[in-house]
């Protein structure tokens, strides 16, 4: 039983709380128009939460990322976002530039 507990925990705190939104999406996809007011509000709330998570991971970094100074993490995010805008909103350009910038600055001056 004790070996099973971590897996029960994974289902309870990882799978179900996340998956329920996908199931609700299946339910609402029949009745809701993508531009309905409720959905505009839900998307705004979801967007604020998501960038909130982004800020949390960058500012209060987990694991190995915590070894990189805060100003390097913030600067790299800024560089990545600038590259995203310059490259006509290319997600790939933004992600690659930001990540390489983080590793380069960290190796050169951060540590």
């Amino acid at each position: 039983m004790t070996e099973l507990w971590p897996y029960v925990l994974l289902v309870l705190v990882g799978f179900l709380p996340n998956e329920v939104w996908r199931w609700l999406g299946v339910v609402f996809a029949r009745g809701l128009d993508e531009t309905s007011e409720v959905l505009v509000w839900v998307r705004a709330v979801a967007t604020a939460i998501l960038t909130g998570v982004v800020a949390k991971i960058v500012v209060f970094a987990p694991g190995a990322l915590a070894g990189v100074p805060l100003w390097v993490r913030l600067g790299a995010a800024g560089i990545g976002f600038a590259a995203f805008l310059i490259a006509r909103q290319s997600v790939f350009a933004g992600v690659v530039s930001g990540t390489l910038a983080l590793m380069a600055i960290d190796l050169l001056v951060g540590r």
């Binding site: 990882g14 998956e19 329920v20 505009v40 709330v45 604020a48």
Partner: protein, 245 residues
Amino acid sequence: MAEHEQGSGGSPVKAGFVAGWSAGSVSVFQLVLIGTYISIGALAHDLGFPIAWVVLSTLIVWAAPAQVIMISALAAGAPPFEVAIAVTLTGVRLLPMVVALLPILRTRASSFAGVLLAAHFTAVSMWMESLRLAPRRPVEERIAFANGIGTALIGGATIATVAGYYFARVLPEPLVAGLLFLTPMSFLVSVARASKMISDRIAAVAGLVLSPLLVVLGVGLDLMWTGLIGGTAAYLVRRAVRARA
């Protein structure tokens, strides 16, 4: 229900799935996902989780921010209820994504299992690729096509999770730090790219500012308040702008 005979040129489900799998295999998102999941595997290894648990989390949670938050919170000894709240908050975004995607994919003949699987595979990577590529496929192939994309992406992520877990010891720390940075970086630009309405843009900026502020102020359920305050304020701004126009 069964009167819709499938076309004579073979099964649309099989054709759609194979085409989707090919598209997903060469998607640029593969690179981001592989890097991201190497870092998640390495994080889970360093925090002492078993390999089967981590692989299962990739397969059934299939959402990088939720996994990073869940793994670091559980390792820090957070109460399970608080972890579940944090995970469910990061998952709210999936609802509008599924609502936007399914009407493009499904027909009356689509099987419920196929639709449910497509909903499970819905994550920023699969969603962006499906929205971009599925409209070019015949409509009866689309659910299978999206599931093919999802299978290819989750497959790459699963292999990367295993690789990250076993190579955690030999991966240089600056590299793991860079790979862990992929999650916030990719979500930041994906959100910016998907934000077309003024409410989405204001909400995005509000989230960036509010969440660290609420954490520093010691407010509990910081992500929930970030979403409710930032999202509702952004929605009200949109209403005010439209009322004036």
